[in-house]
Symmetry: C2
Subunit: 197 residues, 2 copies
DNA sequence: GCGTCCATGTAAACGGTTACATGATTGC
DNA sequence: GCAATCATGTAACCGTTTACATGGACGC
């Protein structure tokens, strides 16, 4: 269960369940999401196992908070996870299934519109990551290759998001162009001369 | 529930639960997976709803099969799904979380090895898709831009896999190179001269 | 006779989401 | 007074995986 280890990682700095939820939403949402209703029971489970401990604390608004932090045993468990195999869950892409079956609509314009909407989606996410990247570069002259090693690890995950989303946008653009060329009235493609073989 | 619609799409050609499982494993595994224990009850549910119908059939080995096919009502449901919004489930990448926290190990060589294993994984999948791509190109001179529209849709999903996995491999290579340059004994990078601004 | 493939299912567990419930505090 | 934010939790449900169960037919 990856969430447990992710919490162990995040709780190397003390935080409440509520804090963690915010961090998922605002910080690392591009690779993991979690709901409060899942976070709270998981924290209790980790505490029972001795991997985190908690103390009551005051909150600005409302009643008390409970702040958790990873214990040495928790750190050992985290390190074991990190030394293990990369966790590739099998990826499911419903939107790819939609493209796969889209010929059912017998309407290429519809597919083009669908790709347009996907492009918007990916481009928006890409813009957000580019913003993060730019801000970081402006704030730290060591960015990216002279950062301290700990921050390099974060930068590498950001870089993955950038490369991946760029590929997604490229895919949409290419697909839209290729389908546009098939629309009635489109300039016919020059037939590709085969290379001498 | 995307699986239902994927089955409706696949069952435009008649197939048994067992056939479908094979197709997930050998055909469209790069965007969806399903177990037999999930396929069989789903087929029954779809039949009860009138979206597929079934008939008993003989099997080569073993006892009888049950072959399902999508009904006109099922096709209408499928088309509605296809005309709707692209389904982006929130993506979870446990291996990115591992990279994110990998500084905990305080051992850059370990991170490099981790990236090496990830590279292998992605490169293997990429090779498999490239093989598919090459075979298709050899078998059909219309590949890729003069394919009939129905096959173009399939080609576009394959193209996504290729672009995406290429980006993943590129990411690993880049990361390994950048980390290698930080290892003690590595040739120090030439400091990047800032562009005149 | 034994393993593999064909073929269909059920039951329990798991990870995650949605809905529901409660309550204090601050700013408008 | 009311909405938003801070804060913690439970219960029901949903989609998926893992484990279990059964049995016929073919090749070695």
């Amino acid at each position: 269960m990856s969430l447990e280890f992710i919490l162990l990682g995040l709780l190397r700095r003390p935080a409440s369940g509520y804090d963690l939820k915010k961090f998922f939403d605002e910080g690392i949402g591009y690779f993991w999401a979690a709901e409060l209703s899942q976070i709270y029971p998981t924290l209790k489970r980790l505490e029972k196992r001795g991997w985190v401990r908690s103390r009551a604390a005051a909150s600005k608004r409302g009643s008390g908070r409970r702040v958790y932090v990873t214990t040495p045993a928790g750190r050992r468990a985290l390190r074991e996870w990190l030394r293990g195999e990369p966790q590739f869950g099998d990826e499911r892409f419903a939107y790819l299934a939609q493209v796969y079956f889209m010929d059912e609509l017998k309407d290429l314009r519809q597919t083009i519109r669908f790709f347009g909407r996907m492009r918007d989606h990916f481009a928006t996410k890409l813009d957000a990551l580019r913003m993060l990247d730019r801000r970081w570069a402006e704030a730290d002259p060591r960015y990216p290759d002279d950062l301290p090693t700990s921050e390099l690890h974060l930068q590498l995950t950001l870089r993955k998001g950038l490369l991946s989303l760029e590929a997604h946008v490229l895919w949409c653009d290419e697909a839209i162009r290729r389908m546009g060329a098939r629309l009635p009235g489109a300039k016919p493609r020059r037939p590709q001369p085969k290379r001498a073989s």
